[in-house]
């Protein structure tokens, strides 16, 4: 099972084991990582699983995700993503996921 690393807004690093095929959002919740709200449960409908990733292995933003990223609580940045739209696999081993100050 791939390991990814969540980095809190204060810099704290928190490695987490993800199920193969699980979203970054689910991986945060199931590892009890703070900083993800995920109101809509993974439907790309609420933008409260906002994360920052800067890793060329991650597939690009989809059109729906792109539009919902305009609804994030902290301003969108070039690496902004919805955690529910990134699916973890062995190819993403060691992925670093930064969390924003707030989701609301």
């Amino acid at each position: 099972m791939p390991e990814i690393i969540f980095i809190q807004a204060d810099g704290t690093r928190r490695p987490a084991t993800a199920q193969d095929g699980e979203s970054v959002m689910r991986a945060a919740l199931s590892n009890d990582v703070e900083g993800i709200v995920a109101e809509c449960g993974g439907a790309a409908a609420c933008a409260t699983c906002h994360v920052f990733v800067d890793d060329p292995r991650v597939p690009p933003v989809t059109p729906i995700e792109d539009e919902m990223l305009e609804a994030t609580a902290v301003p969108r940045e070039p690496g902004s993503r919805l955690g529910c739209q990134i699916f973890v696999s062995r190819e993403l081993e060691g992925l670093e996921v930064r969390l924003p100050e707030t989701q609301l």
């Binding site: 449960g41 409908a45 609420c46 305009e70 609804a71």
Partner: protein, 392 residues
Amino acid sequence: MSAGVVVLGAGQAGFQLAASLREGGYADPITLVGEEAEPPYQRPPLSKVFLKGGDGPESLSFRPPSFFERHGIALRLATRAMRIDREAARVLTEPGGWLSYDRLVLATGARNRPLALPGAALENVVALRGAEDGLALRAALARSRRVVIIGGGFLGLEVASSARAVGAEVTVIEAGERLMGRAVSPAVSRHFLEYHRSRGVVVELGQTISAILGEARAEGVTTTEDRDIPADLIVVAVGVVPNTELAEAAGLAVDRGIIVDHALRTSHPRIHAIGDCARFPSAHGGGLTRLESVQNAVDQARCAAADILGKPQPYEAVPWFWSDQGERLQIAGLTADAEETVTQGGPEAFSVYCFRNGVLIGAESVNRPADHVKARRMLAGGERPQRAAFAS
């Protein structure tokens, strides 16, 4: 030490209330009482991805057990609340006996409206509410070829879309003249009618069911036009009724929901009600309103938590909804009372802006998330946009 907060109902609202109390620094005990055996979980995926996939209920849980331990939130699962004793500030639970509270929060949700028809109790006549229902429906879909869905609202249509995706022949029977008639404008109803029909779903409008056919198992339905539609699975999705019995028995004001004020307090000052079971004065039109949505459950939980923490604020959050039926529908605001609409966009992706007294009250967006996001911002602002600002 205070007896703390007891929450009846461990769904989206109850879970969020407990989490928000701890986030806000609440230090006394919190007990979350839920009838289901599962730890708190998300319901929306049940009609969508959960039906099509192979994941178990654990894939739906809000947080792992460590979260509840770390935050000192006691879970009393598979536990039913039998009675509220207001005088003694305690709740009778089964199993578990009496549970004292300082503050009580009713997050009792809603249950499916039963179908009062002969044959409704046959085993292949099912409804969807909890994770157990989801598992049962998924298994039933896998061995069924012809599915009849009674009710063309959000839930019925989401199940229709999922059932079609796993290869079933699907008929949706809706009593109203259009789909999702209580929730969306005619243009959106029309779009989804065409969409579902284009995917091979048979949609019968203006039809009701007079009987469910079959002896041991349901074999179909008879419509009020005396037409028989064969089926090996029947899904009932005709709305919900709020769970208000406990509140009513405790002498709280109840009228099609547990009546609450702007801070979500019931007629008894130590008892709040939130989520699907609460009828509240809406800041977004429509007077006393009861909403069944994730947004309402979550935001009311936050609002009630703030009140319990001594920082009351009126409940004014903008309502929003979504439904994934293969096409993506997102609604901001309450649009049922619209007098006028303006549609922007093309046939595949558009938004219907809804106005009352010349002022924006909501927007229904089909495959246009950006419009939805903007509409939510507009409705949250002090100054509502005028009709004149929207080009047709």
